[in-house]
Protein backbone atom coordinates (compact mmCIF):
# COMPACT_ATOMS: atom_id res chain seq x y z
CA UNK A 1 0.00 0.00 0.00
CA UNK A 2 2.60 2.46 1.08
CA UNK A 3 5.31 3.40 -1.29
CA UNK A 4 4.29 1.14 -4.10
CA UNK A 5 1.34 2.85 -5.60
CA UNK A 6 3.03 6.08 -6.47
CA UNK A 7 1.05 6.13 -9.68
CA UNK A 8 -2.26 5.50 -8.05
CA UNK A 9 -1.48 8.11 -5.47
CA UNK A 10 -0.61 10.64 -8.08
CA UNK A 11 -3.93 10.23 -9.73
CA UNK A 12 -5.84 9.96 -6.49
CA UNK A 13 -4.47 13.14 -5.04
CA UNK A 14 -4.97 15.11 -8.19
CA UNK A 15 -8.48 14.08 -9.06
CA UNK A 16 -10.75 12.82 -6.30
CA UNK A 17 -12.81 9.99 -7.80
CA UNK A 18 -16.01 11.53 -6.50
CA UNK A 19 -15.57 14.48 -8.77
CA UNK A 20 -14.13 12.64 -11.71
CA UNK A 21 -17.18 10.50 -12.31
CA UNK A 22 -19.50 13.52 -12.40
CA UNK A 23 -19.00 13.94 -16.12
CA UNK A 24 -20.57 11.07 -17.98
CA UNK A 25 -24.04 11.35 -19.44
CA UNK A 26 -24.76 14.92 -18.40
CA UNK A 27 -26.53 15.70 -21.68
CA UNK A 28 -28.68 12.60 -21.45
CA UNK A 29 -29.54 13.25 -17.82
CA UNK A 30 -30.50 16.88 -18.37
CA UNK A 31 -32.45 16.06 -21.54
CA UNK A 32 -34.46 13.24 -20.08
CA UNK A 33 -35.05 15.13 -16.85
CA UNK A 34 -36.45 18.01 -18.93
CA UNK A 35 -38.95 15.67 -20.56
CA UNK A 36 -39.91 14.18 -17.21
CA UNK A 37 -40.22 17.63 -15.69
CA UNK A 38 -42.50 18.74 -18.53
CA UNK A 39 -44.78 15.78 -17.86
CA UNK A 40 -44.70 16.47 -14.15
CA UNK A 41 -45.69 20.09 -14.74
CA UNK A 42 -48.54 19.01 -17.03
CA UNK A 43 -49.70 16.53 -14.41
CA UNK A 44 -49.53 19.10 -11.66
CA UNK A 45 -50.97 22.17 -13.33
CA UNK A 46 -52.71 20.87 -16.47
CA UNK A 47 -55.89 19.75 -14.73
CA UNK A 48 -56.13 23.17 -13.05
CA UNK A 49 -55.88 25.04 -16.36
CA UNK A 50 -58.03 22.63 -18.40
CA UNK A 51 -60.87 21.57 -16.20
CA UNK A 52 -61.78 18.00 -16.76
CA UNK A 53 -65.01 16.41 -15.69
CA UNK A 54 -64.97 12.64 -16.08
CA UNK A 55 -68.75 12.34 -16.24
CA UNK A 56 -69.51 15.30 -18.52
CA UNK A 57 -70.90 14.34 -21.89
CA UNK A 58 -70.88 16.74 -24.79
CA UNK A 59 -72.58 15.01 -27.73
CA UNK A 60 -72.23 17.93 -30.09
CA UNK A 61 -68.45 17.78 -29.99
CA UNK A 62 -67.92 14.02 -30.27
CA UNK A 63 -64.94 12.64 -32.14
CA UNK A 64 -63.42 15.91 -33.25
CA UNK A 65 -60.08 15.47 -34.96
CA UNK A 66 -56.96 17.10 -33.52
CA UNK A 67 -56.57 20.82 -34.20
CA UNK A 68 -60.30 21.31 -34.90
CA UNK A 69 -62.65 23.69 -33.15
CA UNK A 70 -65.59 22.89 -30.91
CA UNK A 71 -69.04 24.31 -31.48
CA UNK A 72 -68.12 26.97 -28.92
CA UNK A 73 -65.08 27.85 -31.00
CA UNK A 74 -62.42 26.47 -28.67
CA UNK A 75 -59.40 24.83 -30.21
CA UNK A 76 -59.07 21.16 -29.28
CA UNK A 77 -55.38 20.41 -29.77
CA UNK A 78 -55.61 16.63 -29.50
CA UNK A 79 -59.24 16.28 -30.56
CA UNK A 80 -62.13 14.85 -28.53
CA UNK A 81 -63.26 11.34 -27.72
CA UNK A 82 -66.53 9.51 -28.30
CA UNK A 83 -68.36 11.37 -25.52
CA UNK A 84 -66.98 14.75 -26.50
CA UNK A 85 -64.34 15.12 -23.79
CA UNK A 86 -61.22 17.13 -24.61
CA UNK A 87 -58.43 14.60 -25.07
CA UNK A 88 -55.73 17.03 -23.87
CA UNK A 89 -57.55 17.67 -20.60
CA UNK A 90 -58.20 14.00 -20.20
CA UNK A 91 -54.55 13.17 -20.80
CA UNK A 92 -53.35 15.72 -18.29
CA UNK A 93 -55.66 14.24 -15.73
CA UNK A 94 -54.37 10.84 -16.83
CA UNK A 95 -50.78 11.95 -16.39
CA UNK A 96 -51.63 12.87 -12.84
CA UNK A 97 -53.10 9.48 -12.15
CA UNK A 98 -50.42 7.52 -13.97
CA UNK A 99 -47.53 9.37 -12.40
CA UNK A 100 -49.02 9.24 -8.92
CA UNK A 101 -49.47 5.52 -9.26
CA UNK A 102 -45.99 5.12 -10.71
CA UNK A 103 -44.26 7.04 -7.97
CA UNK A 104 -46.30 5.51 -5.16
CA UNK A 105 -45.73 2.00 -6.44
CA UNK A 106 -42.06 2.76 -6.83
CA UNK A 107 -41.72 4.07 -3.28
CA UNK A 108 -43.62 1.13 -1.87
CA UNK A 109 -41.65 -1.47 -3.79
CA UNK A 110 -38.42 0.35 -2.91
CA UNK A 111 -39.35 0.21 0.76
CA UNK A 112 -40.29 -3.47 0.62
CA UNK A 113 -37.11 -4.20 -1.33
CA UNK A 114 -34.98 -2.27 1.13
CA UNK A 115 -36.37 -4.08 4.16
CA UNK A 116 -36.21 -7.52 2.57
CA UNK A 117 -32.79 -6.85 1.09
CA UNK A 118 -31.31 -5.82 4.43
CA UNK A 119 -32.93 -8.74 6.21
CA UNK A 120 -31.50 -11.10 3.61
CA UNK A 121 -28.09 -9.56 3.16
CA UNK A 122 -27.24 -8.38 6.62
CA UNK A 123 -28.73 -11.10 8.74
CA UNK A 124 -28.34 -13.88 6.20
CA UNK A 125 -28.90 -17.50 7.16
CA UNK A 126 -32.26 -19.10 6.58
CA UNK A 127 -33.96 -15.73 6.20
CA UNK A 128 -31.72 -14.99 3.25
CA UNK A 129 -32.54 -18.34 1.68
CA UNK A 130 -36.28 -17.91 2.14
CA UNK A 131 -36.43 -14.35 0.83
CA UNK A 132 -34.18 -14.97 -2.14
CA UNK A 133 -36.04 -18.14 -3.16
CA UNK A 134 -39.23 -16.12 -2.95
CA UNK A 135 -37.63 -13.56 -5.24
CA UNK A 136 -36.52 -16.29 -7.64
CA UNK A 137 -40.01 -17.74 -7.79
CA UNK A 138 -41.50 -14.36 -8.44
CA UNK A 139 -38.97 -13.59 -11.16
CA UNK A 140 -39.73 -16.91 -12.83
CA UNK A 141 -43.36 -15.79 -13.11
CA UNK A 142 -44.09 -13.08 -15.70
CA UNK A 143 -44.63 -9.86 -13.79
CA UNK A 144 -47.63 -8.64 -15.71
CA UNK A 145 -49.39 -12.01 -15.35
CA UNK A 146 -48.89 -11.84 -11.60
CA UNK A 147 -50.22 -8.30 -11.60
CA UNK A 148 -53.26 -9.33 -13.62
CA UNK A 149 -53.88 -12.20 -11.24
CA UNK A 150 -53.73 -10.06 -8.13
CA UNK A 151 -55.62 -7.19 -9.73
CA UNK A 152 -58.38 -9.54 -10.78
CA UNK A 153 -58.73 -10.72 -7.21
CA UNK A 154 -58.56 -7.28 -5.60
CA UNK A 155 -60.67 -5.46 -8.17
CA UNK A 156 -59.97 -2.16 -9.91
CA UNK A 157 -59.04 0.83 -7.76
CA UNK A 158 -56.08 3.20 -7.62
CA UNK A 159 -54.90 1.82 -4.27
CA UNK A 160 -55.05 -1.73 -5.49
CA UNK A 161 -53.06 -0.92 -8.60
CA UNK A 162 -50.31 0.56 -6.44
CA UNK A 163 -50.22 -2.54 -4.25
CA UNK A 164 -50.21 -4.84 -7.26
CA UNK A 165 -47.36 -3.01 -8.97
CA UNK A 166 -45.30 -2.81 -5.78
CA UNK A 167 -45.57 -6.52 -5.25
CA UNK A 168 -44.23 -7.20 -8.71
CA UNK A 169 -41.44 -4.63 -8.39
CA UNK A 170 -39.69 -5.21 -5.07
CA UNK A 171 -37.33 -7.95 -6.25
CA UNK A 172 -34.80 -5.74 -8.03
CA UNK A 173 -34.59 -3.38 -5.09
CA UNK A 174 -34.20 -6.27 -2.68
CA UNK A 175 -31.43 -7.81 -4.74
CA UNK A 176 -29.47 -4.59 -4.94
CA UNK A 177 -29.89 -3.86 -1.24
CA UNK A 178 -28.83 -7.38 -0.39
CA UNK A 179 -25.79 -7.02 -2.61
CA UNK A 180 -24.83 -3.74 -0.95
CA UNK A 181 -25.42 -5.19 2.50
CA UNK A 182 -23.23 -8.20 1.72
CA UNK A 183 -20.52 -6.02 0.24
CA UNK A 184 -20.56 -3.61 3.16
CA UNK A 185 -20.87 -6.21 5.91
CA UNK A 186 -17.22 -7.23 5.79
CA UNK A 187 -15.78 -3.77 5.29
CA UNK A 188 -13.27 -2.70 7.86
CA UNK A 189 -15.12 0.50 8.60
CA UNK A 190 -18.11 -1.56 9.67
CA UNK A 191 -15.87 -3.33 12.18
CA UNK A 192 -14.56 0.03 13.27
CA UNK A 193 -18.10 1.22 13.90
CA UNK A 194 -18.99 -1.96 15.77
CA UNK A 195 -16.01 -1.56 18.05
CA UNK A 196 -17.44 1.79 19.10
CA UNK A 197 -20.36 -0.22 20.43
CA UNK A 198 -22.82 0.50 17.64
CA UNK A 199 -25.92 -1.63 17.46
CA UNK A 200 -27.00 -3.25 14.23
CA UNK A 201 -29.52 -0.57 13.30
CA UNK A 202 -26.90 2.12 13.66
CA UNK A 203 -24.45 0.25 11.45
CA UNK A 204 -27.11 -0.42 8.83
CA UNK A 205 -28.18 3.20 8.87
CA UNK A 206 -24.71 4.70 8.62
CA UNK A 207 -22.91 2.11 6.51
CA UNK A 208 -25.38 0.20 4.34
CA UNK A 209 -28.16 2.66 3.55
CA UNK A 210 -25.88 5.39 2.15
CA UNK A 211 -24.27 2.87 -0.16
CA UNK A 212 -27.72 1.99 -1.54
CA UNK A 213 -28.49 5.55 -2.57
CA UNK A 214 -26.84 5.63 -5.99
CA UNK A 215 -27.98 2.18 -7.16
CA UNK A 216 -31.49 2.94 -5.91
CA UNK A 217 -31.63 6.10 -7.96
CA UNK A 218 -30.55 4.18 -11.03
CA UNK A 219 -33.00 1.36 -10.55
CA UNK A 220 -35.83 3.73 -9.69
CA UNK A 221 -35.35 5.59 -12.95
CA UNK A 222 -35.14 2.37 -14.93
CA UNK A 223 -38.08 0.88 -13.10
CA UNK A 224 -40.57 3.72 -13.05
CA UNK A 225 -41.06 3.48 -16.82
CA UNK A 226 -41.96 -0.17 -16.41
CA UNK A 227 -44.37 0.64 -13.61
CA UNK A 228 -46.18 3.32 -15.61
CA UNK A 229 -46.34 0.97 -18.56
CA UNK A 230 -47.64 -1.85 -16.39
CA UNK A 231 -50.28 0.43 -14.93
CA UNK A 232 -51.37 1.38 -18.44
CA UNK A 233 -51.49 -2.27 -19.41
CA UNK A 234 -53.62 -3.15 -16.42
CA UNK A 235 -55.97 -0.25 -17.07
CA UNK A 236 -56.11 -1.15 -20.73
CA UNK A 237 -57.23 -4.59 -19.71
CA UNK A 238 -59.81 -3.09 -17.40
CA UNK A 239 -58.03 -4.26 -14.29
CA UNK A 240 -56.46 -0.95 -13.38
CA UNK A 241 -58.00 2.34 -12.50
CA UNK A 242 -61.79 2.72 -12.73
CA UNK A 243 -63.22 4.78 -15.58
CA UNK A 244 -63.93 7.69 -13.22
CA UNK A 245 -60.18 8.22 -12.67
CA UNK A 246 -58.97 7.85 -16.22
CA UNK A 247 -55.31 6.96 -16.54
CA UNK A 248 -53.57 6.75 -19.88
CA UNK A 249 -54.28 3.05 -19.99
CA UNK A 250 -58.02 3.59 -19.67
CA UNK A 251 -57.95 6.34 -22.29
CA UNK A 252 -56.05 4.18 -24.74
CA UNK A 253 -58.43 1.31 -24.09
CA UNK A 254 -61.37 3.63 -24.67
CA UNK A 255 -60.24 4.36 -28.22
CA UNK A 256 -59.67 0.73 -29.05
CA UNK A 257 -62.91 0.24 -31.02
CA UNK A 258 -62.59 3.49 -32.94
CA UNK A 259 -59.04 3.04 -34.22
CA UNK A 260 -60.15 3.12 -37.88
CA UNK A 261 -62.31 6.24 -37.52
CA UNK A 262 -60.79 8.20 -34.59
CA UNK A 263 -57.19 7.03 -34.33
CA UNK A 264 -56.16 9.90 -32.09
CA UNK A 265 -58.05 8.70 -29.04
CA UNK A 266 -55.63 5.79 -28.62
CA UNK A 267 -52.63 6.99 -30.58
CA UNK A 268 -51.93 10.32 -28.88
CA UNK A 269 -51.97 9.02 -25.30
CA UNK A 270 -49.98 6.05 -26.56
CA UNK A 271 -47.30 8.33 -27.99
CA UNK A 272 -47.28 10.42 -24.81
CA UNK A 273 -46.80 7.25 -22.77
CA UNK A 274 -44.02 6.00 -25.01
CA UNK A 275 -42.12 9.29 -24.84
CA UNK A 276 -42.26 9.33 -21.04
CA UNK A 277 -41.18 5.70 -20.72
CA UNK A 278 -38.30 6.26 -23.12
CA UNK A 279 -37.26 9.40 -21.20
CA UNK A 280 -37.14 7.42 -17.96
CA UNK A 281 -35.20 4.69 -19.69
CA UNK A 282 -32.60 7.14 -20.98
CA UNK A 283 -32.40 8.75 -17.55
CA UNK A 284 -31.88 5.39 -15.87
CA UNK A 285 -29.19 4.35 -18.32
CA UNK A 286 -27.36 7.63 -17.94
CA UNK A 287 -27.53 7.51 -14.15
CA UNK A 288 -26.28 3.96 -14.24
CA UNK A 289 -23.32 4.90 -16.42
CA UNK A 290 -22.51 7.72 -14.11
CA UNK A 291 -22.87 6.12 -10.72
CA UNK A 292 -22.43 2.45 -11.17
CA UNK A 293 -21.17 0.94 -14.39
CA UNK A 294 -21.18 -2.44 -12.66
CA UNK A 295 -24.97 -2.41 -12.67
CA UNK A 296 -25.08 -2.60 -16.47
CA UNK A 297 -27.35 -5.34 -17.69
CA UNK A 298 -29.69 -5.42 -14.73
Amino acid sequence: MTATSAMADTIETTAPPARRRGRTGTVRIVGSLAVVAFYALCAAFGPILFRFDPVAVDTRNRLLAPLSHTSEGHLVLFGTDQIGQDLLAKMMQGARVSMTIGISALLLSGLIGLVFGILAGWFGGWLDSVLMRLADIQLAFPGILLAILIAAVLGPSVGNVIVVLSISGWVTFARVTRGQALATKNREYVDATRVLGARTWHVVRTCVLPSCRAPFLVIAALHIGDVILAEASLSFLGLGTPATTPSWGTTIAGGRDLLSTAWWISAIPGIALAVLVVAFGVLGDALRDRYDPKLAGR
Partner: protein, 339 residues
Amino acid sequence: MNPMPAPSDESGTAVAGPPLLSVRDLVTSFPIRSTLLRREIGRIEAVAGVSFDLPAGQTLGIVGESGSGKSTLARTVVGLARARAGSVTFDGTDLTAAAPAEVRRRRRDIQMIFQDPYASLNPGRTVRQLVTEAWQIHPDVVPRDRWPAELAELLARVGLDPGHADRYPHQFSGGQRQRIGIARAIALRPRLVICDEPVSALDVSIQAQVLNLLRDLQRDLGLTYLFISHDLSVVRHVADRVAVLYLGRIVEEAPTAEIFAAPTHPYTQALLSAVPRLRPWRETAPEPIVLAGDIPSPANPPSGCRFRTRCPRAEDVCAIEPPALTIRGTHPAACHFAG
Protein backbone atom coordinates in the same frame (compact mmCIF):
# COMPACT_ATOMS: atom_id res chain seq x y z
CA MET B 1 -10.96 16.10 26.73
CA ASN B 2 -11.98 15.92 30.33
CA PRO B 3 -9.56 14.46 32.81
CA MET B 4 -8.70 10.93 31.99
CA PRO B 5 -7.86 8.10 34.35
CA ALA B 6 -4.70 8.89 36.23
CA PRO B 7 -1.56 8.18 34.26
CA SER B 8 0.03 4.96 35.24
CA ASP B 9 3.28 4.64 36.96
CA GLU B 10 5.88 5.27 34.28
CA SER B 11 8.32 2.65 35.49
CA GLY B 12 5.62 0.02 35.55
CA THR B 13 7.16 -1.71 38.53
CA ALA B 14 5.58 -0.12 41.58
CA VAL B 15 1.96 -0.97 40.84
CA ALA B 16 1.46 -4.70 40.99
CA GLY B 17 -2.32 -4.84 41.09
CA PRO B 18 -4.42 -7.26 39.06
CA PRO B 19 -3.85 -7.01 35.31
CA LEU B 20 -6.24 -4.82 33.32
CA LEU B 21 -6.56 -7.51 30.68
CA SER B 22 -6.13 -11.17 31.36
CA VAL B 23 -6.53 -13.74 28.61
CA ARG B 24 -6.63 -17.42 29.51
CA ASP B 25 -6.50 -20.42 27.15
CA LEU B 26 -8.27 -18.44 24.46
CA VAL B 27 -9.41 -20.37 21.42
CA THR B 28 -11.01 -18.70 18.41
CA SER B 29 -11.91 -20.88 15.50
CA PHE B 30 -13.71 -20.61 12.21
CA PRO B 31 -15.72 -23.33 10.56
CA ILE B 32 -14.51 -24.88 7.32
CA ARG B 33 -17.56 -25.58 5.22
CA SER B 34 -18.00 -27.97 2.36
CA THR B 35 -18.48 -26.20 -0.92
CA LEU B 36 -21.66 -28.00 -1.86
CA LEU B 37 -23.88 -28.18 1.19
CA ARG B 38 -22.15 -25.60 3.38
CA ARG B 39 -21.88 -28.25 6.10
CA GLU B 40 -19.24 -27.76 8.70
CA ILE B 41 -16.49 -30.23 7.95
CA GLY B 42 -13.84 -28.94 10.33
CA ARG B 43 -12.58 -25.90 12.16
CA ILE B 44 -9.55 -23.68 11.75
CA GLU B 45 -8.16 -22.75 15.12
CA ALA B 46 -6.71 -19.35 14.34
CA VAL B 47 -6.06 -18.75 18.02
CA ALA B 48 -5.33 -22.06 19.70
CA GLY B 49 -4.96 -21.56 23.43
CA VAL B 50 -3.41 -18.20 24.17
CA SER B 51 -2.83 -16.83 27.67
CA PHE B 52 -1.30 -13.56 28.78
CA ASP B 53 -1.71 -10.74 31.28
CA LEU B 54 -1.51 -7.06 30.49
CA PRO B 55 -1.06 -4.67 33.43
CA ALA B 56 -2.64 -1.23 33.23
CA GLY B 57 -0.57 1.46 31.55
CA GLN B 58 1.71 -1.00 29.82
CA THR B 59 2.15 -2.08 26.23
CA LEU B 60 2.20 -5.72 25.27
CA GLY B 61 3.50 -6.33 21.78
CA ILE B 62 2.11 -9.32 19.91
CA VAL B 63 4.44 -10.30 17.11
CA GLY B 64 3.72 -12.82 14.42
CA GLU B 65 3.71 -13.41 10.72
CA SER B 66 0.66 -13.80 8.54
CA GLY B 67 -1.26 -16.86 9.64
CA SER B 68 -0.05 -16.57 13.20
CA GLY B 69 -3.52 -15.56 14.40
CA LYS B 70 -2.48 -12.17 15.76
CA SER B 71 -5.29 -10.29 14.07
CA THR B 72 -7.86 -12.86 15.16
CA LEU B 73 -6.57 -12.49 18.69
CA ALA B 74 -7.10 -8.74 18.47
CA ARG B 75 -10.57 -9.19 17.04
CA THR B 76 -11.51 -11.60 19.79
CA VAL B 77 -10.37 -9.31 22.58
CA VAL B 78 -12.28 -6.41 21.07
CA GLY B 79 -15.40 -8.51 20.48
CA LEU B 80 -15.46 -8.72 16.69
CA ALA B 81 -14.82 -12.46 16.81
CA ARG B 82 -16.36 -14.90 19.24
CA ALA B 83 -14.14 -16.93 21.54
CA ARG B 84 -14.82 -20.65 21.34
CA ALA B 85 -13.10 -21.45 24.61
CA GLY B 86 -11.13 -19.74 27.32
CA SER B 87 -11.67 -16.35 28.88
CA VAL B 88 -10.98 -12.68 28.25
CA THR B 89 -11.07 -10.90 31.59
CA PHE B 90 -11.09 -7.13 31.47
CA ASP B 91 -10.79 -5.29 34.77
CA GLY B 92 -12.22 -8.25 36.65
CA THR B 93 -15.11 -9.01 34.28
CA ASP B 94 -14.97 -12.10 32.09
CA LEU B 95 -16.24 -10.78 28.77
CA THR B 96 -16.86 -14.27 27.42
CA ALA B 97 -19.26 -15.10 30.26
CA ALA B 98 -20.84 -11.82 31.42
CA ALA B 99 -24.37 -10.70 30.54
CA PRO B 100 -24.64 -8.94 27.14
CA ALA B 101 -25.53 -5.57 28.67
CA GLU B 102 -22.56 -5.73 31.00
CA VAL B 103 -20.28 -6.76 28.13
CA ARG B 104 -21.49 -3.87 26.04
CA ARG B 105 -20.86 -1.44 28.86
CA ARG B 106 -17.40 -2.86 29.43
CA ARG B 107 -16.42 -2.91 25.80
CA ARG B 108 -16.66 0.85 25.67
CA ASP B 109 -13.37 0.83 27.57
CA ILE B 110 -11.73 -1.33 24.90
CA GLN B 111 -11.18 0.38 21.57
CA MET B 112 -9.19 -0.49 18.49
CA ILE B 113 -6.96 1.22 15.94
CA PHE B 114 -7.10 -0.51 12.60
CA GLN B 115 -4.37 -1.28 10.13
CA ASP B 116 -5.72 0.24 6.97
CA PRO B 117 -6.55 3.93 7.32
CA TYR B 118 -8.20 3.79 3.91
CA ALA B 119 -10.60 0.93 4.59
CA SER B 120 -11.40 1.60 8.22
CA LEU B 121 -13.09 4.97 7.71
CA ASN B 122 -16.52 5.15 6.12
CA PRO B 123 -15.82 7.16 2.95
CA GLY B 124 -19.22 8.83 3.02
CA ARG B 125 -18.88 10.50 6.41
CA THR B 126 -17.04 13.61 7.48
CA VAL B 127 -14.44 13.63 10.21
CA ARG B 128 -16.98 15.29 12.46
CA GLN B 129 -19.53 12.54 11.83
CA LEU B 130 -16.93 9.82 12.22
CA VAL B 131 -15.72 11.04 15.59
CA THR B 132 -19.01 12.18 17.10
CA GLU B 133 -20.51 8.85 16.08
CA ALA B 134 -18.89 7.41 19.19
CA TRP B 135 -20.70 9.94 21.39
CA GLN B 136 -23.93 9.37 19.53
CA ILE B 137 -23.71 5.66 20.32
CA HIS B 138 -22.83 6.30 23.97
CA PRO B 139 -24.74 9.50 24.78
CA ASP B 140 -23.55 9.62 28.39
CA VAL B 141 -19.89 10.16 27.53
CA VAL B 142 -20.08 13.70 26.17
CA PRO B 143 -23.24 15.84 26.32
CA ARG B 144 -24.34 17.00 22.91
CA ASP B 145 -23.70 20.69 23.53
CA ARG B 146 -20.09 19.87 24.34
CA TRP B 147 -19.53 17.98 21.07
CA PRO B 148 -17.97 20.81 19.02
CA ALA B 149 -15.57 21.76 21.79
CA GLU B 150 -14.61 18.17 22.57
CA LEU B 151 -14.19 17.39 18.89
CA ALA B 152 -11.87 20.33 18.36
CA GLU B 153 -9.84 19.35 21.38
CA LEU B 154 -9.66 15.72 20.29
CA LEU B 155 -8.58 16.59 16.76
CA ALA B 156 -5.92 18.93 18.06
CA ARG B 157 -4.73 16.23 20.42
CA VAL B 158 -4.12 13.78 17.57
CA GLY B 159 -2.45 16.46 15.48
CA LEU B 160 -5.23 17.35 13.06
CA ASP B 161 -6.48 20.80 12.23
CA PRO B 162 -9.89 21.19 13.97
CA GLY B 163 -10.86 23.40 11.04
CA HIS B 164 -10.83 20.32 8.82
CA ALA B 165 -13.62 18.60 10.74
CA ASP B 166 -16.05 18.81 7.85
CA ARG B 167 -13.77 17.18 5.31
CA TYR B 168 -14.15 13.64 4.07
CA PRO B 169 -11.52 10.92 4.58
CA HIS B 170 -10.42 10.97 0.95
CA GLN B 171 -9.24 14.54 1.39
CA PHE B 172 -6.58 13.43 3.84
CA SER B 173 -3.28 11.61 3.40
CA GLY B 174 -2.72 8.14 4.84
CA GLY B 175 -1.04 9.42 7.98
CA GLN B 176 -3.77 11.96 8.64
CA ARG B 177 -6.42 9.31 8.14
CA GLN B 178 -4.75 7.14 10.70
CA ARG B 179 -4.91 10.10 13.06
CA ILE B 180 -8.65 10.26 12.43
CA GLY B 181 -8.84 6.57 13.30
CA ILE B 182 -6.92 7.24 16.49
CA ALA B 183 -9.21 10.15 17.39
CA ARG B 184 -12.18 7.82 17.00
CA ALA B 185 -10.55 5.17 19.11
CA ILE B 186 -9.89 7.50 22.02
CA ALA B 187 -13.17 9.46 21.72
CA LEU B 188 -14.84 7.17 24.25
CA ARG B 189 -11.95 7.55 26.69
CA PRO B 190 -11.07 3.89 26.68
CA ARG B 191 -8.61 2.28 29.05
CA LEU B 192 -7.36 -0.40 26.69
CA VAL B 193 -6.57 0.24 23.04
CA ILE B 194 -5.88 -2.61 20.66
CA CYS B 195 -3.50 -1.39 17.97
CA ASP B 196 -3.75 -3.78 15.03
CA GLU B 197 -0.74 -2.99 12.84
CA PRO B 198 -1.43 0.73 13.23
CA VAL B 199 1.56 1.91 11.20
CA SER B 200 2.27 -0.85 8.72
CA ALA B 201 0.28 0.83 5.94
CA LEU B 202 2.10 4.13 6.37
CA ASP B 203 5.24 5.62 4.89
CA VAL B 204 8.34 5.46 7.06
CA SER B 205 8.43 9.18 7.89
CA ILE B 206 4.74 9.07 8.81
CA GLN B 207 5.15 5.87 10.85
CA ALA B 208 7.44 7.69 13.23
CA GLN B 209 4.92 10.52 13.65
CA VAL B 210 2.14 8.09 14.50
CA LEU B 211 4.31 6.04 16.86
CA ASN B 212 5.23 9.19 18.72
CA LEU B 213 1.58 10.20 18.88
CA LEU B 214 0.62 6.80 20.32
CA ARG B 215 3.34 7.16 22.92
CA ASP B 216 2.18 10.67 23.90
CA LEU B 217 -1.41 9.51 24.20
CA GLN B 218 -0.39 6.63 26.40
CA ARG B 219 1.51 8.97 28.68
CA ASP B 220 -1.21 11.64 28.81
CA LEU B 221 -4.29 9.43 29.00
CA GLY B 222 -2.86 6.48 30.88
CA LEU B 223 -3.74 4.09 28.09
CA THR B 224 -2.90 0.42 28.00
CA TYR B 225 -1.93 -0.94 24.59
CA LEU B 226 -2.15 -4.37 23.07
CA PHE B 227 0.08 -3.71 20.10
CA ILE B 228 -0.15 -6.17 17.25
CA SER B 229 2.50 -6.02 14.55
CA HIS B 230 4.61 -8.03 12.19
CA ASP B 231 7.31 -5.39 12.34
CA LEU B 232 9.76 -6.27 15.06
CA SER B 233 11.56 -2.95 15.08
CA VAL B 234 8.27 -1.14 15.67
CA VAL B 235 7.33 -3.50 18.49
CA ARG B 236 10.75 -3.15 20.01
CA HIS B 237 10.24 0.58 20.06
CA VAL B 238 6.81 0.66 21.68
CA ALA B 239 6.35 -2.46 23.79
CA ASP B 240 7.20 -3.16 27.42
CA ARG B 241 6.73 -6.88 26.91
CA VAL B 242 6.60 -8.95 23.74
CA ALA B 243 4.76 -12.18 23.03
CA VAL B 244 5.68 -14.06 19.86
CA LEU B 245 2.81 -15.87 18.17
CA TYR B 246 3.22 -18.80 15.81
CA LEU B 247 0.26 -20.69 14.33
CA GLY B 248 -2.14 -19.53 17.00
CA ARG B 249 0.08 -20.16 20.02
CA ILE B 250 2.50 -18.02 21.99
CA VAL B 251 5.96 -19.49 21.63
CA GLU B 252 7.84 -17.01 23.78
CA GLU B 253 7.04 -14.10 26.04
CA ALA B 254 9.44 -11.75 27.78
CA PRO B 255 10.27 -8.15 28.56
CA THR B 256 11.20 -6.43 25.31
CA ALA B 257 14.87 -5.89 26.01
CA GLU B 258 15.26 -9.48 27.11
CA ILE B 259 13.57 -11.07 24.13
CA PHE B 260 15.59 -8.99 21.71
CA ALA B 261 18.86 -9.60 23.51
CA ALA B 262 18.45 -13.26 24.32
CA PRO B 263 15.63 -15.01 22.48
CA THR B 264 15.38 -18.64 23.52
CA HIS B 265 12.79 -20.09 21.13
CA PRO B 266 14.19 -21.11 17.74
CA TYR B 267 11.36 -19.32 15.97
CA THR B 268 12.01 -16.06 17.77
CA GLN B 269 15.67 -16.42 16.99
CA ALA B 270 14.94 -16.92 13.30
CA LEU B 271 12.47 -14.06 13.23
CA LEU B 272 14.93 -11.67 14.83
CA SER B 273 17.76 -12.68 12.56
CA ALA B 274 15.56 -12.07 9.52
CA VAL B 275 14.93 -8.42 10.35
CA PRO B 276 17.05 -6.26 8.08
CA ARG B 277 19.25 -3.94 10.12
CA LEU B 278 19.47 -0.29 9.19
CA ARG B 279 23.27 -0.21 9.40
CA PRO B 280 24.38 -3.84 9.21
CA TRP B 281 28.01 -2.82 8.86
CA ARG B 282 28.03 -1.34 12.34
CA GLU B 283 27.37 -4.58 14.15
CA THR B 284 28.61 -8.09 13.95
CA ALA B 285 25.38 -9.82 13.15
CA PRO B 286 25.08 -13.50 13.96
CA GLU B 287 24.75 -15.78 10.97
CA PRO B 288 21.10 -15.35 9.85
CA ILE B 289 18.85 -18.32 10.41
CA VAL B 290 16.83 -18.66 7.24
CA LEU B 291 13.75 -20.75 7.88
CA ALA B 292 12.73 -23.29 5.30
CA GLY B 293 9.30 -23.14 3.75
CA ASP B 294 6.17 -21.34 4.85
CA ILE B 295 3.96 -21.29 7.90
CA PRO B 296 1.73 -24.42 7.74
CA SER B 297 -2.01 -24.10 7.28
CA PRO B 298 -3.85 -23.55 10.57
CA ALA B 299 -6.50 -25.95 9.25
CA ASN B 300 -4.03 -28.78 9.58
CA PRO B 301 -1.36 -27.84 12.12
CA PRO B 302 1.58 -30.16 12.76
CA SER B 303 1.34 -32.53 15.71
CA GLY B 304 3.27 -31.81 18.88
CA CYS B 305 5.17 -28.56 18.56
CA ARG B 306 3.59 -26.50 15.81
CA PHE B 307 6.92 -25.09 14.75
CA ARG B 308 8.74 -28.40 14.37
CA THR B 309 8.28 -28.63 10.57
CA ARG B 310 10.48 -25.59 10.07
CA CYS B 311 12.63 -25.84 13.17
CA PRO B 312 16.36 -26.36 12.74
CA ARG B 313 16.51 -28.04 16.18
CA ALA B 314 13.51 -30.36 15.91
CA GLU B 315 13.83 -33.87 17.30
CA ASP B 316 11.50 -36.84 17.63
CA VAL B 317 9.99 -35.63 20.88
CA CYS B 318 8.76 -32.44 19.18
CA ALA B 319 6.38 -34.39 16.96
CA ILE B 320 4.80 -36.14 19.92
CA GLU B 321 4.68 -33.75 22.80
CA PRO B 322 3.54 -30.13 22.45
CA PRO B 323 5.90 -28.01 24.58
CA ALA B 324 4.19 -25.97 27.29
CA LEU B 325 4.77 -22.24 27.64
CA THR B 326 6.66 -22.28 30.92
CA ILE B 327 9.63 -20.38 32.25
CA ARG B 328 12.72 -21.83 30.69
CA GLY B 329 15.79 -19.88 31.62
CA THR B 330 14.67 -16.36 32.46
CA HIS B 331 11.28 -16.15 30.76
CA PRO B 332 8.47 -18.30 29.32
CA ALA B 333 9.14 -20.16 26.09
CA ALA B 334 7.36 -23.07 24.47
CA CYS B 335 10.25 -25.21 23.30
CA HIS B 336 11.65 -28.45 24.70
CA PHE B 337 15.17 -27.18 24.14
CA ALA B 338 14.84 -23.54 25.13
CA GLY B 339 16.68 -21.98 28.02
